[in-house]
């Protein structure tokens, strides 16, 4: 009887955690690299790096995040929100052509990557308000 229970428990654990370490490192999932980039990126009609990075920092603070680090040269900001759960986010910027800046965000909720496009849409909508600029979809 005890052996039976142990088998059931072992099966449950296996079923809920069977991804290999490589799968986790590479975040192998249903989505392709391009699909992820598409919903995690927006471009804005400005080349003012300082303005974009400061707007990203303000937006993250508005959303209840504490900034972990910021690097002007790399154009990267990382932040964490703690509210019973832990939400970590990294936002990067880079020039796109001669007139635009591309903003890319990725987030992690507890131990899961955020792979639903909706939270990213909401984030970019909030960033748009802070920047007073319209976000253009995709890479």
């Amino acid at each position: 009887m005890i052996g039976g229970r142990a088998r059931v428990l072992a099966t449950c654990l296996l079923a809920s955690a069977c991804a290999s370490t490589s799968d986790r490192v590479l975040d192998v999932g249903d989505q392709t690299q391009l699909q992820k980039r598409a919903y995690q990126s927006r471009s804005f009609d400005t080349t003012d790096k300082d303005k974009v990075l400061r707007a990203i920092i303000s937006t993250l603070q508005d959303l209840g995040f504490v900034i972990d680090r910021a690097d002007y040269t790399l154009g990267v900001v990382s932040a964490t929100k703690l509210n019973v759960y832990q939400l970590k986010m990294t936002v990067s910027t880079r020039p796109r052509g001669k007139e635009q800046t591309l903003v890319r965000a990725n987030a992690q909720f507890n131990v899961q990557p955020v792979e639903d496009p909706k939270p990213y849409q909401d984030f970019f909508a909030s960033l748009e308000k802070s920047l007073f600029l319209t976000a253009h979809a995709g890479e």
Binding site: R5, V8, L9, C12, L13, A15, S16, A17, D50, L53, R54, I57, S58, Q61, D62, L63, G64, F65, V66, I67, D68, R69, A70, D71, Y72, V77, A79, T80, K81, L82, N83, V84, Y85, Q86, L87, F109, N110, V111, Q112, V114, D116, K118, P119, Y120, D122, F123, A125, S126, K129
Partner: protein, 177 residues
């Protein structure tokens, strides 16, 4: 039936919590919190204001973790005990009544990010001597059973006291004391 319940509990424990909807939506409550967490300072340049703020964080016993002066960002943290008399008394009372060991708060890590940004003038250019300072604060409390509770802090009194100290520090900075 009991096996099924055990399986469900195990699966729940291994990660079925999802991101709350509207986490990235700016609500009126969040904008109100922005007012509480922000103060405007005049007559001081951004770098000098950052120095004044970093001195305040040191006054409060924080250790500086990261900084990016070009973006007006400072991050700092400190570890402190988190014992609360009421919580400990309750745990003792429950133990005495035979309720077993109840975990209570032991210590905490307090994290702060402080951001200085210039006020935008009417022509949208950044001001040289008018700035906003905003701080956001979180803490992670560790309990006696090593479980943790994390939360953002939003008590208006906390921010009021913090900014009073920044005002004093700005004054000291301006007087070169």
């Amino acid at each position: 039936m009991r096996r099924l319940a055990a399986c469900v509990a195990l699966l729940a424990a291994t990660g079925c919590v999802t991101l709350p909807p509207d986490t990235f939506v700016l609500t009126p409550e969040l904008l109100k919190q922005r007012q509480i967490e922000t103060r405007r300072y005049s007559g001081i340049e951004e770098k000098d204001l950052l120095v004044a703020c970093s001195n305040v964080l040191q006054d409060l016993g924080f250790n500086l973790e990261n900084s990016e002066v070009r973006l007006g960002v400072l991050t700092a943290s400190k570890q402190r005990d988190a014992l609360q008399a009421g919580e400990v008394a309750l745990a003792i009372a429950i133990a005495l009544l035979g309720g077993g060991a109840m975990p209570f708060s032991k210590d905490q890590t307090i994290r702060v990010s402080l951001v200085v940004r210039p006020v935008r003038l009417s022509d949208a250019t950044p001001s040289q001597r008018e700035h906003f300072v905003r701080i956001t604060v979180q803490r992670i409390v560790r309990r006696t059973d090593n479980s943790t509770i994390s939360q953002g802090l939003n008590d208006p009194g906390l921010f009021r006291q913090f900014f009073e100290r920044v005002s004093k520090s700005v004054f000291i900075e301006a007087q070169n004391i």
